[in-house]
Symmetry: D2
Subunit: 474 residues, 4 copies
């Protein structure tokens, strides 16, 4: 039920996934890192990369494309080291521009602390100010990648060791982020003070440690979940094992959308199981917004969990009213007016389960609303007599500055339209969103970052004119 | 809920999908045929092709790969004709060999009836005998493709027109097949006397006709379903509209597996809705083989329909106990012992829904049994206390000679093992298959070909030594 | 001094090269055939292919591209057979159209004589008539390739053996051609009655036989030249060695352009050394058309031999006045007015040798004249005070029907302009061509086909309206 | 007569070519830079790249491959700017390693002087010491590219303007180099104090300035040669035109190999015409080392100029005894013992001009001697009765530290063998090299760097242990 990303389906987009391993003995870390970032593919589809070191050699490969496109056998062979001990990997959703390839991660550099590789998920909201300051002091920036700012902060503290210097850099950079950093002999992981972006630690039976954005990446390499990296914590692994430093704790506010949609349904983050929380969101939605109907139908695959929960709480039958073409999402876009409609029709097709029925359609979110309207049409064309739209997240009204692409504010339908206007726009008979309180209860774990719903940014915001200035750069 | 094909999941494989259009006025048939064969992608993933004609020019493009790989914008442009009137398309699952590309379809040839293009699904069981006879008479065969035998039969009747000659060829070839054939000015579709392979006719509001393996291909090009081509029927479309000739009717025995697994769940074949029949199979399975348990879990995506039916009939909760990674199935195979296990783990991951639960696991079929055993293990590792395996098809014991690749007989686990042996092999607490009678009732429409279950071949079998001889050829 | 083909340099284009081997013992024929067709690359740059058989398996690979592009290591591996005994190969210059790939050679087919592979150089002028007749009799034609007509003629004689049937086919097809044909166990070579296209036989010390368009292909696989296949002769090699059948002898008239330009300068054809004949052409040109000047400069590489001859006879110094960029000829064409001029300037650049000099510029031929004019300009810009253009072939006024692409008649500058008009067009101070008689003396061997100069076609011409009809076909 | 690089031919390899343009008005600099680096392709075949700016946007594209492979139409489009004013380009011969792509040039970076792009030819012999010092001070190095050291030196002088800072960096880096550097609004070119590597300035009639490694790159973009950049000079072009700063003059010692082999024969460097100097080298060689013989034959294309000179001085006929296959040099290497021999035979084939003749074979240099031996064999096999080898450079005994790859010292045949030993090794009847004095007279212009012949390095040498340390790095 985890989504094969398709722009036509109009979802928020996670911008990255990170992965790292440290083994006290020789392991095929190229292959394991490949498996790890493959398991995180849903967090970034446009670039992939990894570094591997055996304590001496330090290899890196990265490029635009899916993990399986970037790493064919030949390319994986190039990062393979017989005595590999440390590795990191990354998947990325890239922004537009002419130099995407140079912005792929991990970023690698030579410093007075040896060669380092860094991969991050999220955003440093004050990266630009820090970068400008360092430029004035004679630093070079080869990329527009935030990671390079972090690396410069680490390198300039030439009198500190790597862990101290990294902790120092954490204190200077604000925002929501989760990073893995490696030298030839150590693996470091750290998470922003609010824990906006997730990061977990696992271990294999053979003693190797794994740090990754989600538990699924641990399981795929044969590791069990030890615990989450705590908000504001820095952990490192070297020949002496796992160590921790609490650099900068703050009130934990992990991103609610990890449970609503991003994170895979086969794991738990900050102690809360994602699949179970989605079932609870659906049940909560049924309690908050009941409606008389015949059948509960999910938008596959993102709405499945909430739809099962809705059906369970409401006592209505769950049915598969929309079938998904697993090959969709890879066609070129036809240069015609009906392109978007066509893309949706190529991806989703109604089954006989909706014919003559009053349908409750459950999805996880509405961003622009364009796709939702097409899906409602699809159901009506297939004979649904009523379509009641239920959404397992509150209306998205604000942009995210912590690593999620939700579209610009003016494109967010809930930022510019009332609930009734949205209902008319998408053509549903009724429309209802889960409440913020209901969502928080369904996740029922830590405090949550709900900034995209209510505009309260726990980890700060960038200076407003930054966006435009960046547009002038390479 | 339609499957993204993956060999690791050990399913029977449909060998082809066919598509054809005739328009009384200029239409962008290259684009529409692209959409049509894209909708049939689940019927064949290894080659794709199409022909387009405007009554004068006759373009063909075909190659190995998915539809979207073969037809990028540049290649589609090459078959585009501003005044296109007739087109056919094909998707194919290819067998191994060094010359696959030359066997891709549609097959095109120049004959005394002008240029012809032919695409077929299924097999002619006596193709080899007919081919050898024609070789002796001086014919050339550029490929090992059955279509070429059909085309030679048509061409040799130089005194007949195209429809007569095609009907004559149908009478000489036995087996299970569905074909589309085009000249510069006409589209022909025909189906074997038993109707083993499906073929449907549709029409757009603008008058254009469509003939395809499944209704989904009609819908995607904006056509509505008119009817199925009847077993033994030949239909053709030309400037005078749609015509029919009943060439060779016999007792209809369409392939049961179209409803069990192959056909997309958004259509009906021979009057029977595929999605509804899958729900009924699950309900029947629940009646035939009930068991005390906590939750009903499908193997995604192939077992979803039957699992919903099973849950509905049994009153047990339906839950998503296995999450599918939409990016799986495209990795290169690791050269290690645990490769198959790894592939399954990369594709499927258990959710918290099975933890501490007695699970009824529902799938559509078991071929070799290897994957089933891995999935059962996966659930036990995730904390399932019991796993009860339920299968919505009877045990597969016999090979198919009508266009389905089910693996060789000695590899079919049900051909060499008892039910109890299979249960032990896959490690389930209980194992049960739907009965042949129960399956027939669930489909509840026409007679069915059940040859792979009971060895009764309604459309004949090839001479036994053919398989070996073919191995010697290119 | 053999030319890297470049359309900008405006030369006639050879349409094919053929190669075949038969070995009495196992040899790596895939690799040797690769070397053989690589040596013939100058005869065709747009497609390459080969077949290899070990008496049982029969593999074929072919595609658009240079030999080294079509056959990377992986592809060559696919045709490799440990016990290979027979092989043929082909390089081709393709005509335009949408289905080029299907017309690549060798053409392979199954017949009553087993699987056959055929590759040809040249043209059958009555191929169309023969083809139409066979269509009426029920034959299929998958391609528009002349080879398929030959194969159909061979297959229809089901009572004859392969050699008899091939000899029979030779008697029915007219034109200028040289072919290699293989079954699983024999290699056949044959040449048209006039010997218009070349074909030579060689042998390795280990007993393996080679048949090829030019001697260079023999040398590259370690064979020595035995002799030319005679005009009208058919030779075959099987387990009993080399055999000959004189099918249809006529007055030999090999194509003069093989010596002027096509054939590589490191071999001899029909007993006449190509390099030496080019030197003699230059000497003859100097005798026929002397002029007072300072330096003799070739257009590289096609004019080098004749320029050396001219310098030697005239006593003037030979100098390298035009340097060739070896990377040219592979750029995409700029969408600007000066594109052609630019292509020439990217390929050729004047050296200091022409500054302040009266230059005799020697080239092998003038087709359209466009490039010649650009080269003359180039020399003048570089300071040449006079440019005297000397051409080692007579004016080309007629199209070739025997396998050479010389451009359509209306594009041939010598067909529509007087000598003086051409001189003005290209801007030379003087312009002179070798005489037909002078050319014949310089080659001084067999009779020659001079059809493109004088319009006398020794091997017949096609029916005129054929060209247009073919344009309607795929 | 300029060489298509082929490793089998065993020549020294130039490591780079640079190109830059500044236009006072909008020009299609992407296209012009493409033409410029295409003209310099012989200076580097393994990577190509360019930057283009319009004063605001700053685009860069670079990759492994030939210019025409890296820059297809789509890629060139990505660097195209309608109002482009400044651009630089680069071609490169890459060393081995896993991260070649990241070392491609131009190198771009953001600094306190804005975005900069730098491309260089040559080597800074003290780059490592400077780099280590800057690492200690907190600098990052993303590559192992010398350019990055130069850019860091420039960036750290945050109080200076770009020209001052670049001049300052020149004073700190030693070696032989020629560089182009661009900001959004200015183009800078500079050459090492000894002028070891070449750099020339040109101008178009429309006022645009060009700076490039060789004049051929000026001509191809329609510019005329103004003058050479002087040894130790820095020039820059901005909206106020061309400016000069003499930073660090020393005794000029340009690299002799530019005239012997590297530079294209259609230009002059430091006032000396390359083609004419090659003729003079051949004449000098004939005076120094006459021998009784029948014909003078060049190794194409590198020996052509000297062979013409030798023939002219000796009065012997010049003849084309070795024909070059223009398609060679792009095959994959056969995994057999005779691979090298085969490569030479695929590239070069003897013509009838050497049969029964006493041949003087002229080449520009001998590095390892392996190829020379194969060529001598080739001539003897073709019937040459004697082979006298003449070389237009002195014996190469020492490595180059200024940007030329001549192979390691132990591989240099002249470093480990006496003249007589080399003669026996290559199997020539006689062998002779031009003298150092003779070479200097033939070039007859500036002082020359003859370090690879006599071990006297005018611009210093690196610390010896550097080579090993670098091997440990990425």
């Amino acid at each position: 039920m985890d989504a094969d990303f398709d722009p036509a389906l109009d979802k928020p987009r996670e911008e990255c996934g990170v992965f790292g391993m440290y083994s006290p003995h020789a392991l095929d870390l190229a292959w394991l890192t490949y498996l790890g970032i493959f398991a995180l593919q849903h967090r970034g589809q446009e670039a992939a990369g990894m570094c591997v070191s055996d304590g001496d050699k330090f290899h890196v490969e990265k490029d635009l494309g899916l993990v399986t496109q970037v790493f064919d056998e030949r390319r994986l062979e190039r990062v393979r080291l017989p005595n590999a001990r440390v590795s990191i990997g990354h998947v990325r959703y890239s922004t537009t521009g002419s130099n995407l390839r140079f912005n792929a991660q991990p970023l690698t550099t030579r410093t007075n602390k040896g060669i380092l590789g860094l991969a991050h998920n999220g955003n440093f909201v004050n990266a630009r100010e820090v970068r400008n300051q360092m430029l004035m002091e004679g630093a070079l920036f080869a990329t527009t990648n935030d990671s390079e700012v972090m690396l410069n902060l680490i390198a300039r503290e030439s009198h500190m060791d790597l862990v101290e210097a990294t902790a120092g850099a954490m204190q200077q950079l604000k925002g929501g982020y989760a990073c893995v950093l490696m030298s030839r002999t150590a693996l470091i992981g750290f998470r922003d003070p609010n824990g906006v972006r997730p990061l977990v630690i696992g271990q294999r039976d053979d003693g190797a440690y794994v740090i990754a954005s989600e538990p699924c990446a641990l399981y795929t390499v044969g590791a069990r979940l030890l615990r989450d990296v705590l908000p504001g914590e820095l952990v490192w692994v070297d020949e002496n094992g796992l160590h921790s430093l609490m650099v900068h704790p703050a009130a934990p506010t992990p991103c609610a959308f990890e449970w609503i949609y991003f994170a895979r349904s086969d794991g738990e983050l900050d102690g809360v199981d994602t699949y179970a929380s989605r079932i609870r969101m659906g049940m909560q939605l049924a309690r908050e917004h009941p409606v008389e109907a015949d059948v509960v139908v999910p938008v596959p695959d993102s709405g499945i969990g909430a739809a099962i929960g809705y059906a369970r709480e409401s006592g209505l039958p769950f049915d598969y009213g929309l079938s998904k073409n697993p090959y969709a999402g890879r066609t070129f876009i036809a240069p015609t007016q009906e392109a978007r409609d066509l893309k949706v029709r190529m991806k989703l097709s109604p089954t006989s389960a909706v014919r003559g029925k009053r349908v409750i359609l459950v999805d996880d979110s509405i961003v622009r609303g364009t796709t939702s309207s097409l899906i409602v049409n699809l159901l009506r064309d297939a004979g649904a007599t009523e379509v009641h739209f239920r959404v397992s997240s509150p209306p998205i009204k604000h942009p995210c500055f912590y690593g999620i692409d939700t579209a610009a504010r003016k494109e967010l339908v809930a930022s510019t339209h009332s609930l009734e206007q949205i209902r008319q726009l998408i053509g549903a008979d009724t429309l209802a969103f889960i409440s913020e309180r209901g969502l928080a209860e369904a996740v029922s774990g830590p405090g949550l970052c709900l900034a995209c719903f209510n505009g309260e940014y726990p980890a700060g915001t960038p200076l407003l004119n930054d966006v435009d200035k960046l547009a002038l750069e390479v």
